[in-house]
């Protein structure tokens, strides 16, 4: 019990736990769409492209989230326009923007003296440095993302499962696609301090991928994914505290272990299922 309660005497740990919990819910629920729509590469790219925005805010002394948010929304729109208007394949367009902007961010950061520590924080998260202002912003943005996912639930379901149906039902498909990109950008901003740029993709896709093993419908996939996300976040914070490893890797490693567990359970069930269905045929 002391093992769990001990760290709670520090305010920064409490804030870190709250931030990890919020991030766990928001990332894992939005991550369900990223997994189902095959947008993992896009999510990874968007996490990297916000770096120059974050660094600019950092150098100017603004809240980091402001720079990240501006850059994230610009990237979402930029990728949308590039793939709509040019003959480039989507992954090529994304790759070009992704690498270019990430390089710009690193170059900007290197202008500062203690470059390697700052870079490590941006790349791998600095959960234990979450201020109460950061926490408030994380909570507000997280709630906005969840409310929008809830409000547009059935439309996002249709554009994800059957884009042609979305067209024939005359849904505002362009608006919905851009909205989803912007929600991904905002979610990345929310998760920036917890996991950092380099590991962002894991917190977006790993809980959702795990949930896909054990669920049959989208709402239950979202709930299971959120539970895994929160659990990974909280365990990650404790691991970070006791093992003295950065928060990002701690959270991601926890999520990955749960994924492997889920994989084993699913494999076992499939084998049993195969035996059960083959048994009557053999009889």
């Amino acid at each position: 019990m002391d093992f769990l309660l001990d760290p709670l005497q520090y305010d920064f740990i409490v804030r870190a736990l709250l931030a990890a919990g919020i991030v766990g819910v928001v990332c894992s629920i939005l991550g369900v769409y990223i997994v189902l729509r095959g947008m993992a590469f896009l999510g990874d790219a968007m996490a990297h492209t916000i770096l120059p925005g974050v660094v600019a805010a950092f150098l100017l002394g603004w809240p980091l989230a402001v720079g990240a948010l501006i850059m994230g929304v610009l990237t979402a729109l930029g990728i949308g326009v590039l793939t709509e208007r040019t003959a480039l394949k989507e992954d090529t367009a994304i790759g070009v923007i992704f690498a270019g902007l990430f390089a710009l961010g690193v170059a900007m950061l290197s202008l500062r003296g203690n470059y390697s520590i700052d870079l490590a924080h941006f790349l791998f998260g600095n959960l234990l440095g979450v201020s109460s202002g950061d926490l408030l912003l994380t909570a507000v943005l997280g709630v906005v993302v969840l409310v929008l996912i809830f409000l547009f639930y059935k439309e996002f379901l249709v554009i994800s499962f059957d884009p042609v149906l979305a067209e024939t039902l005359r849904l505002p498909t362009r608006f919905l696609n851009y909205l989803l990109l912007i929600l991904i950008a905002v979610t990345i901003v929310v998760a920036l301090q917890v996991v950092g740029v380099a590991l962002m993709l894991a917190i977006l896709v790993t809980p959702a991928a795990t949930a896909s093993f054990v669920t049959r419908r989208l709402p239950s996939m979202m709930i299971v994914s959120a539970v895994i996300g929160v659990f990974s976040g909280v365990v990650g914070v404790y691991a970070s505290y006791y093992l003295n490893i950065p928060s990002g890797p701690a959270v991601v490693l926890t999520a990955t272990l749960i994924f492997l567990l889920g994989l084993a359970v699913a494999a076992g069930r499939n084998r049993r299922g195969a035996l059960e269905t083959s048994a009557p045929e053999a009889a």
Binding site: E155, T168, L171, R217
Partner: protein
């Protein structure tokens, strides 16, 4: 169906554009579509996917759209659904362009659906209601009622809670037809829905189309199966970038028409089955 009656009495439907009284269900007038300005190698150097396509389909008709691969069947369906615009000419559905209509249902080819998607059969059928329900609203009791009765009509009520990945080929087609019913579609396009189904299953799907016809639902179905097209459809559209023939089966499948539709493209015909069918028809 209630919505059909409402539209026929000229009252504007709650969503989507009104239907012009007396206008044909579907009318294409001199429609041209280019290949995005590109000359693709698979079409013999032709610059158009569709050329000068003109035809009319009346309410409740059942039309088989037949032609070699690359003949423009999918392009034609995209035009009618409204996801593609013609370079020239006009597409009208009940007297208006496709844009405002939510009464057009498209049943995709089976390989275009992600069968691992975490949705149940009733979730998929409910998707057909999303247009009528409207933004920011949840499905109500009446929507669930419509979904259940749609599943009942296609004989799939017992599948409601199955995950779509667990369905057989025939069940998959039933579910997508139920979705078209839930959408209250008056024009249903099916893209090769019968491929790979055994004969009894094909017959069961055709029986559902018979049921739709009683409600005045118009059906366009793309197929490679000339026998089926000849036996179970009111008219056959032979398509090869142009409309070669659009007539009742007896005249549409004359040898000269088939030669013009398939002649230079025999290597495009899928599988030996389709070739044998074509040979039978040449003997007539």
């Amino acid at each position: 169906m209630k919505a059909t009656i409402m539209r026929d009495t000229q009252a504007a439907p709650a969503h989507g554009v009104a239907h012009e009284p007396g206008a044909p269900t579907l009318e294409l007038d001199n429609v041209w579509v280019s290949y995005n300005g590109k000359l693709s190698s698979g079409n013999g150097g032709a610059s158009h996917a569709l050329e000068a396509v003109t035809f009319r389909v009346e309410r409740g008709e059942r039309v088989a759209v037949v032609g070699p691969n690359g003949a423009g069947k999918s392009t034609l369906f995209k035009l009618i659904v409204g996801t593609l615009r013609p370079d020239r000419g006009r597409v009208s559905i009940f007297g208006h362009g496709p844009d405002g209509h939510i009464c057009i249902a498209y049943v995709p080819q089976r390989n275009q659906v992600d069968w691992n998607f975490p949705v149940t059969v009733e979730d998929v059928v409910m998707m057909g209601r999303v247009g009528q329900i409207g933004l920011l609203r949840r499905p109500g009791k009446s929507d669930w009622g419509i979904v259940r009765s749609a599943l009942g009509r296609v004989g799939a009520a017992n599948l409601a809670h199955k995950r779509i990945g667990e369905l057989s080929g025939g069940q998959q087609q039933r579910v997508f037809l139920a979705r078209a019913l839930a959408q209250e579609a008056e024009l249903v396009l099916l893209d090769e829905p019968l491929n790979g189904l055994d004969t009894p299953t094909q017959e069961a799907i055709i029986a559902i189309l018979d049921d739709l016809r009683r409600d005045g639902v118009t059906v366009l179905l793309a197929t490679h199966d000339l026998d089926l097209a000849a036996e179970r459809f009111d008219r056959i559209m032979l398509l090869n970038r142009r409309v070669i023939a659009f007539e009742p089966p007896a005249t549409a499948l004359r040898a000269d028409n088939l030669l013009r539709a398939y002649g230079g493209h025999l290597h495009h015909v899928d599988g030996s089955g389709a070739m044998i069918v074509a040979d039978d028809c040449f003997d007539n």
